[in-house]
């Protein structure tokens, strides 16, 4: 099957198929393949069929919205009214969200169909989707390997054709890294572009929602539906949202693209570097002006990121206390015992590590040495990008240092897992937009190329990725077992 969102919209508009038909097809594919992949935590079959019927009526009446009738999967981190929202944690295993996230509300309003909620690393903390209370997700290209994380279920679902598109969130690479490892296209917008209201918070100054799809053109449609000011998110941007599809067809002649030398240095798998080089040549043929740049503080991004993300996480996760919702331990002897055991039983190992480090970094006597220091380095990292964008329009690099690794290969060593994020996390620290798109394979596993743009220049990312996808077909490849 493997239709794009663009093809589904055309098919629905032309009456070639109904939303109910196509929704049933996707639900059937999920029933067939999810046992092997574990992409979904919840499949909302009845709701999907209801929404599809409503979409068909809307289409028949001729008042369809941007995505009316298009089936979409949502990361199980977006609150969905009346539907379990677990964040892949035991502590929220029984949590039925009492309201919709703004992103979900926008998709509902445009008439999209929700297929279900996708698997992820618990509270979005991980780069492999192995930190889920509901088990690992398999990479559709090689089911012994990880799909990346934290939005691994969304990326794998799109790669395997269990959904034409899906939502994700990106705090340190959680959209771009799984997109790369699963061979799909994903975009992390500028901080403040997509509302965080109803997105269960991890690192509030870093978190940003965005879409996964099979092409840049599809991502443009999804981002159009998601982006925009929301009064309920205090850091939401009032910058107007352009028509992302309108500029896709413009060429990239003369576009200045910078290659940060730090992203092509030691640590990058040389086979992967070769694949990226080929894609760079393609962009050069399309007229791009490729030049070398430097982001000198790249090496600092991992320690800086982990201090900020863990400090913010330890504060955000203090709301899970076993009192108002979520897991509560049995027979607490007093209130402190209730808090400690409910949290101790409810959170997984990686989440506990991060709460502990974050608590330590924020505790009396250590704040300046850790959190304040990290915020200073954060500015230096942002300044590097600002200096680079004086001379280039886009920045290009690999999304990950290596292709997907085997499930279990890095679980015993949290630090080696953190190093997977070297090329993705600076962007979150700076709050810039970035995207990953497939550009080839190493050992039968997809390679992702990353593009960064200046603030609110998502249109240029999508346009450049679209132009590349007009002269390549890596984004259209499907894993044989799921074709």
């Amino acid at each position: 099957m493997a239709l794009t969102v663009t093809e589904i919209r055309q098919g629905l508009a032309a009456g070639e198929f109904s939303s109910s038909e196509i929704t049933r097809d996707y639900l059937a594919r999920i029933a067939q393949h999810n046992p092997a992949l574990n992409c979904f935590i919840s499949v909302t079959e009845a709701l999907a069929l209801d929404q599809a019927r409503a979409a068909d009526e809307r289409l028949a009446m001729g008042n369809a919205g941007l995505l009316t009738g298009v089936p979409i999967a949502h990361k199980d981190l977006f609150c969905t009214d009346g539907v379990r929202t677990s964040c892949a944690s035991r502590i929220l295993d029984n949590f039925i969200a009492p309201y919709d996230a703004t992103v979900i509300e926008r998709f509902r309003e445009t008439g999209a169909v929700m297929l279900g909620k996708t698997n992820m690393d618990e509270f979005a903390m991980g780069s492999s989707n192995e930190n889920s209370h509901y088990g690992s997700v398999a990479n559709p290209w090689k089911t012994t390997h990880v799909p990346g994380g934290s939005s691994g279920g969304s990326a794998a679902a799109v790669a395997a054709g269990l959904a034409p598109a899906a939502t994700g969130t990106d705090t340190g690479g959680s959209i771009r890294q799984p997109a790369a490892l699963c061979g799909v296209t994903g975009i992390k917008p500028t901080y403040g572009r997509v509302s965080r209201y109803g997105m269960i918070a991890f690192g509030s100054s870093l978190d940003q929602g965005g879409p996964f799809a099979r092409s840049a053109a599809d991502c443009a449609l999804l981002l159009q539906a998601m982006a925009g000011f929301d009064a309920r998110d205090s850091t939401s941007s009032e910058t107007p949202v352009p028509d992302y599809s309108a500029t896709l067809d413009q060429g990239i002649e003369g576009l200045r693209i910078g290659l940060p030398k730090e992203y092509f240095a030691e640590g990058l798998d040389s086979r992967l570097a070769k694949v990226i080089d080929t894609a760079i040549d393609e962009l050069r043929r399309l007229g791009a002006d490729i030049r070398e740049i430097s982001l000198p503080n790249t090496g600092l991004s991992i320690p800086t990121y982990y201090v900020i993300a863990m400090a913010e996480a330890s504060s955000n996760l203090s709301r899970f206390d076993g009192v108002r919702f979520g897991h509560r331990c049995a027979d607490p002897v007093d209130l402190e015992d209730l808090y400690k055991r409910s949290r101790g039983e409810g959170f997984g190992k990686e989440v506990k590590r991060r709460i502990l480090i974050g608590t330590y970094a924020l505790s009396a006597g250590y704040y300046d040495a850790y959190y304040l220091k990290a915020q200073q380095l954060r500015r230096m990292i942002k300044d590097d990008f600002q200096a680079a964008f004086d001379s280039v329009d886009l920045i290009l690099g690999p999304t990950t240092p290596e292709v997907a690794f085997a499930i279990g290969a890095k679980t015993d060593d949290p630090v080696s897992m953190y190093l997977q994020d070297i090329y993705t996390i600076s962007l979150n620290l700076a709050g810039l937009p970035g995207m990953s798109l497939p550009v080839g394979f190493v050992d039968g596993l997809p390679v992702g190329m990353q593009l960064f743009a200046n603030y609110f220049d998502e249109a240029r990312l999508l346009q450049t990725a679209h132009q590349y996808q007009q002269v390549s077909d890596w984004h259209l490849q499907t894993p044989e077992a799921f074709s």
Binding site: G299, L300, V323, L356, R378
Partner: protein
């Protein structure tokens, strides 16, 4: 930076997080190796650099202090572990 098991226990208490006695040693190792990674921050002199809290250097938007949400207590309490008479129940706090 190396932590001791007492450090891990006191941080866990601050975080109101129960950790099993037999996993304390593992946390000592894991957290110490994370802090060693974090210590790389000290390789750089950042004195005088203004800390960056919001990536866009924006400040929190304020709104008029008026009620915008309706009361949904019954809906919210449906997902609570223990409620009575519209209250959330916890173990006795005051003797």
């Amino acid at each position: 930076m190396t932590l001791k098991s007492d450090d891990v226990r006191s941080i866990a208490h601050l975080a109101r997080l129960h950790i099993d006695d037999d996993s304390v040693d593992q946390y000592v190792d894991d957290l110490s190796s994370i802090l060693t990674l974090v210590d790389q921050m000290n390789l750089v002199d950042s004195s005088g650099v203004k800390p960056l809290a919001n990536p866009l250097d924006a400040s929190q938007r304020l709104r008029v202090d008026e009620v915008t949400e309706s009361n949904q207590r019954d809906k919210f309490q449906q997902i609570a572990p223990d409620v009575a008479d519209g209250f959330y129940r916890v173990p006795r706090v005051i003797e």
